[in-house]
Amino acid sequence: MVTEPSNEQPDVRGSGANDRAPIVAIEDLFVEYKVKNPAGRGKSIARAVDGVNLALYPGETLAIVGESGSGKTSIANAVMRLIDASSGRIIFDGVDLVPLRGKELRKVRPRLQMIFQDPFESLDPRMTVMDTVVEPLVINDIGDSDAHRRELGLAALQRAGLTPADRIARRFTHELSGGQRQRVAIAAAMILEPSVVVADEPVSMLDVSLRAGILRLMADMRDRLGVAYLFITHDLSLAWMFADRIAVVYLGRVVEEGSPVELINNPQHPYTKALVSVIPVPETSAVTNRTVLTGEIPNPTAIPGGCRFHPRCPLYRERGEPAGCRTDDPALVQISIESVHSAACHFVAKVP
């Protein structure tokens, strides 16, 4: 069933992490929200992001994978400064974004762009494709004239696979299909040649036959422009295919991080193990021992003490409910010498 990759296909793996300095370093990030109590009285603190450290290297794709309520979108929004971090640092190209406001932030924005999940909502239906694509140029006062910006816009559309570009440029975004709209969104995000693009579930609203085209386009942009992606998804198998590195988040914390192959073939955290076991695959012969967790991610206003995963953890029960899991919060520790692989579980053997 699996075909040999053809020669024309772009290198999907990117350049990966190396000893260069990260383009984005997330350090000890916390994001808290005040939420009204359901009973109607008082407020509680929801800790959506609870001490996250992540590094994204130039030209690399880092996938942040988690279920809804895991905090993955809060991490993305904090990096984009769409929401405020409660504490911590987000170092982008040497500058901490967290304290930046207004004009200083606008100076950074051209190099830090975002692709949203829903191309039906993220584009203004009353704008033409051309206006949509050149808008970032206008906002940032780039280009000598309207004619010059138009030229850049047509080139961006062409790069995004929207041809004939001059005809598509005149259409309104509401006239386009979902796949075409997402290409317009990518063209607009890429026109300033950013160094980092945060892509929040960029294909999950699209029909499956269109997903490969959009992801190939993103891979192609990565190879051509050297852009790094922070790829937010609930789909671990998609992250496995597309990313250079995967961080699995649970209730505001990174619980495991590693290369895609390592994480899927050799998951160490019981949560990752369960997630991997329930990934649907399009064949019947793949009989797997599924570990279907009971219950749901707890409310971030009431994060369980000790290991936050222990109330749902199969290993905790298997081991006779050791007290340590209820009292001690496990740190994310390096568990492999050969590769980048770390996990936050009391039962993984850390590298001495």
Binding site: M1, V2, T3, P5, Q9, V12, P38, E67, S68, S177, G179, D207, V208, S209, L210, R211, A212, G213, L215, R216, A219, H234, D235, L236, S237, L238, W240, M241, P260, V261, I264, A274, L275, V276, V278, I279, P280, V281, P282, E283, T284, S285, A286, R290, V292, L293, T294, E296
Partner: protein, 331 residues
């Protein structure tokens, strides 16, 4: 005799641009207790075809030909009054977008108990209450939560409520339209397990509609793949998703390409394939195979002659001209 037998069904929607033939000659049968998957991309007609079974189509849709036979009775010939004897009692539906389908100001308990009393006036409210609690427990919700409102439940729990409602009148067939689409992977696994255990426990036949082939592969006894209003391929899951000596058993090029559109973590890590182009505009007359413009193995006749379903074995069928020649022996 099958529990459900849909024969050569055609459904059209009236629109300003002319009639859209959303379902164009589709047949599908389901046996008692069988778990059948119906797959296809958005706009392929899968929901229209499924909603035609209990006659729950929108007003601008009409069945132009074909029959829907349930337990020997042609439902398409029944009037609204007679149809009510079947809806919920024999055939029930778990609607798409269930997360918004519940009444926000009514407790979940009373929403589940309502169909029980509406459809059987001899049931006392105490009996309906007992049945409601039994259903809640059956779908994995503690019955003490009967007095809670929908907003107090998560998406996965609300989907369980919807399933409990569908089971209220002990139907023999449940149509579940994208019941897991908006849910997380772990919650999806929970709901799939629940549907399977309920199907086994009550000998329920299930028509599970999903755009996600990979979910159907490990869930369904049999699967049907639709494309642009037509049945492209149908067969037992092991025939459609399986392989033999390295060759996929799926025979329609559309099914084959769809299967390559999903990452498969049990295989080599390769980039997924897409299917360039888009489905045809069904308000225009169709000539030839509807997949032909996107098909990379099309023959000359594919542009002119619509392929018929060809039997690959007694249960596996595909509609593709590539099969015409080499299938003569099988038929």
């Amino acid at each position: 005799m099958s529990l459900l037998d849909v024969r050569d069904l055609r459904v059209s929607y009236g629109s300003a641009d002319g009639d859209v033939h959303a379902v164009d000659g589709v047949s599908l049968s389901i046996e008692a207790g069988e778990f059948v998957g119906l797959a296809g991309e958005s706009g392929c007609g899968k929901t229209t075809m499924a909603m035609a079974i209990p006659q729950l189509l929108p007003r601008n849709a009409r069945i132009t030909s074909g029959s829907v036979t349930f337990d020997g009775v042609d439902l398409s010939a029944l009037d609204e009054h007679a149809m009510r004897a079947y809806r919920w009692k024999e055939i029930s539906v778990v609607f798409q977008g269930a997360l918004n389908a519940l009444n926000p100001v009514q407790t979940i308990g009373s929403q589940i108990a309502e169909p029980i009393r509406v459809h059987d006036s001899s049931v006392t409210s105490a009996q309906a209450d007992d049945r409601m609690r039994e259903l809640l427990e059956a779908v994995g919700i503690p019955s003490r939560r009967a007095h809670d409102f929908p907003h107090q439940f998560s998406g996965g729990m609300r989907q369980r409520v919807m399933i409990a409602m569908a089971l209220a009148c002990r139907p023999r067939l449940v149509i579940a339209d994208e019941p897991i689409t908006a849910l997380d992977v772990m919650t999806q696994a929970q709901i799939i397990d629940l549907l399977q255990s309920l199907s086994d426990r009550y000998n329920l036949a299930m028509l599970l509609i999903s755009h996600d082939l990979s979910v159907l592969a490990q869930t369904c006894d049999r699967v049907a793949v639709m494309y642009a209003g037509k049945m492209a391929e149908t067969g037992p899951s092991q025939d459609v998703f399986g392989e033999s000596s390295g060759q996929v058993l799926a025979r329609h090029p559309y099914t084959q390409r769809l299967l390559r559109a999903y990452p498969n973590i049990h295989r080599e890590r390769v980039f997924i394939d897409g299917i360039p182009g888009s489905p045809p505009d069904l308000s225009k007359p169709q000539k030839g195979c509807r997949f032909q413009p996107r098909c990379d193995v099309a023959l000359t006749q594919c542009a002119n002659v619509a392929p018929e379903l060809v039997a690959l074995n007694d249960r596996h069928f595909a509609a593709c001209h590539l099969l015409d020649a080499d299938s003569s022996g099988v038929q």
